[in-house]
Amino acid sequence: MSPTISRRRFLEGTGAAVVATTIAGPSGAQGTADITGTPPHAPGARTTRISLTVNGTARQIEVEHRWTLAETLRDHLHLTGTKIGCDRGECGACTVLVDDTPMYACSQLAIWMDGRHITTVEGLSANGQLDPLQQAFIDHDAPQCGFCTSGQLMSAKALLAANPAPTIDEVRAAMTGNVCRCSNYAHYTEAVLAASRQTDRRRV
């Protein structure tokens, strides 16, 4: 690394990018129906029109039966916050909430999501305000390269929804399905615990 760019400044740069990708996107348009229409399909591939809710917005899309939820979100609904690391259930970068339950979007077919509610990282912020979890991730330097971050956020989000005041072991157990190649697990855990305390405080 060039001596003129400190690690701290480098991190701030990536942190800003994480914020930008998480607050951009169509999440502001809650509740409006959007017909995504017919993306290009391979000749001869079987397709079906499905209806699903993505980050509060009803969407309809004609999917090839073989499309995974992850590729449909990224390539056809243009929600690229969800990452594809391994594409085989081994890393967690693609974690999204399906009816509030974390699942690997690479290991689900889009056609199986007909009628379901999907939440992606783009759906965490509301009215231009970061989710407290996102803010805690930034405050605690949780992302390093950032590739696993959206998946970590989604697992943490599901945990805090079910258990607003988890113990450190409960945080670790809930996030075992999210590998961090930069091995920044301690900061992720700290950030989730901090966000949970903050949620608690706001409650009282």
Binding site: H65, R66, R88, E90, Y104, S107, W112, S155
Partner: protein
């Protein structure tokens, strides 16, 4: 992935009809539950189905029901639902713990019990497309190759280990599997559902083409029953067992009245330790007995070149399981 059609029938008869109709038309049809294993097989081009029949939309196959004879668990029940089910946790700890030990929260939220039991082996030769017994070939590359994760019991001609965590638990609980296919319905004891490679080295169980594993029945827990699942991995989470033990004891004070000890991760099927069970029944549980049981747990083991470490590991896991159950 090669293009295919996915259907989600609403009833079991519709599913069986879809499967056998596809076969009559010369199509390759597969069953899918949570898809966490099946989609990986398709992506790795180990299978190339024309039709994917997804069963998780069939309500009658999803859920845990109680009757006077025990519990019936629908094949499409998720592992997450099993792990948090009160009665399973209380009365059938071995099964709840086994379900909870599988992979990660995300996989347990999607993965089903039937899919867990019918998952294909994770031997790296098979998963990487080598034409071994499991891929339509007539050899097992692990026999003379990289075999550190392979079988020390019951191997040959294939040396895979059965990958399911819930399988040893269900054998230890004397469960019964209900299977429905084009020819009707049958029930099979858990221990007979899993089959050795000598029966058919390409398969791991008694399911025939187009047969659906619909539900699993576990008998009512008897007074004094205690159970646990102990799993050892090469890291602390997210992977299959190197060695595991499902232990179910019926205790009368300090005296063991009945025992089932079934190992995972060491054989092509859940590996029951009948001789160890005999050694325990009728005896007072103490350190000396547990030491003898642990030592006897590897009688007949035949390690391959790189997996002899599993022998002392099995002894330690059996010893620890019995010690924890005694406490």
């Amino acid at each position: 992935m090669k293009a295919f059609t996915s259907v989600s029938p609403r009833s079991l008869p519709d599913a069986v009809t879809a499967l056998s109709r596809a076969r009559q038309q010369g199509q390759h049809a597969i069953i899918v539950g949570g898809g966490s294993d099946a989609l990986a097989l398709i992506k790795e081009r180990l299978i190339a189905p024309d039709l994917v029949v997804r069963l998780t939309g069939i309500r009658q196959l999803d859920g845990i029901a109680r009757d006077s004879n025990g519990l019936t668990i629908g094949g499409e029940t998720t592992l997450a639902a099993m792990a948090r089910h009160d009665e399973l946790r209380r009365a059938y700890g071995v099964l709840a713990q086994a379900a909870e030990s599988v992979a990660t929260p995300q996989i347990r939220n999607a993965g089903t019990l039937a899919g867990n039991l019918a998952q294909r082996p994770w031997c790296w030769y098979y998963r990487n497309g080598f034409t071994c017994f499991k891929n339509g070939g007539n050899t097992c590359y692990s026999a003379a190759g990289e075999n550190q994760f392979n079988a020390i019991f019951g191997g040959g001609p294939s040396f895979i280990v059965h990958p399911s965590d819930t399988a040893p638990a269900l054998v230890a609980l004397d469960a019964t599997f209900r299977i429905v296919g084009p020819k009707g319905e049958r029930t099979v004891p858990a221990a007979q559902f899993f089959t050795l490679p000598t029966v058919n080295p390409a398969r791991e169980n008694a399911l025939e083409d187009d047969e659906v594993l619909t539900s699993i029945h576990v008998p009512a827990a008897k007074a004094g029953m205690r159970s646990l699942y102990h799993k050892v991995m090469d890291r602390e989470a997210w992977t299959h067992a190197i060695v595991s033990a499902a232990a179910v004891l019926r205790m009368d004070g300090n005296v063991c009245r009945d025992a089932r000890i079934v190992l995972g991760g060491v054989a092509p099927i859940p590996w029951r330790l009948t001789e160890v069970e005999k050694l325990l029944v009728g005896q007072t549980m103490n350190d000396a007995l547990i030491d003898r049981a642990a030592a006897a747990s590897t009688t007949g083991a035949r390690p391959l070149r790189n997996n002899a470490y599993k022998v002392p590991l099995v002894q330690a896991v059996v010893g620890r399981a019995l010690t924890d159950l005694r406490a």
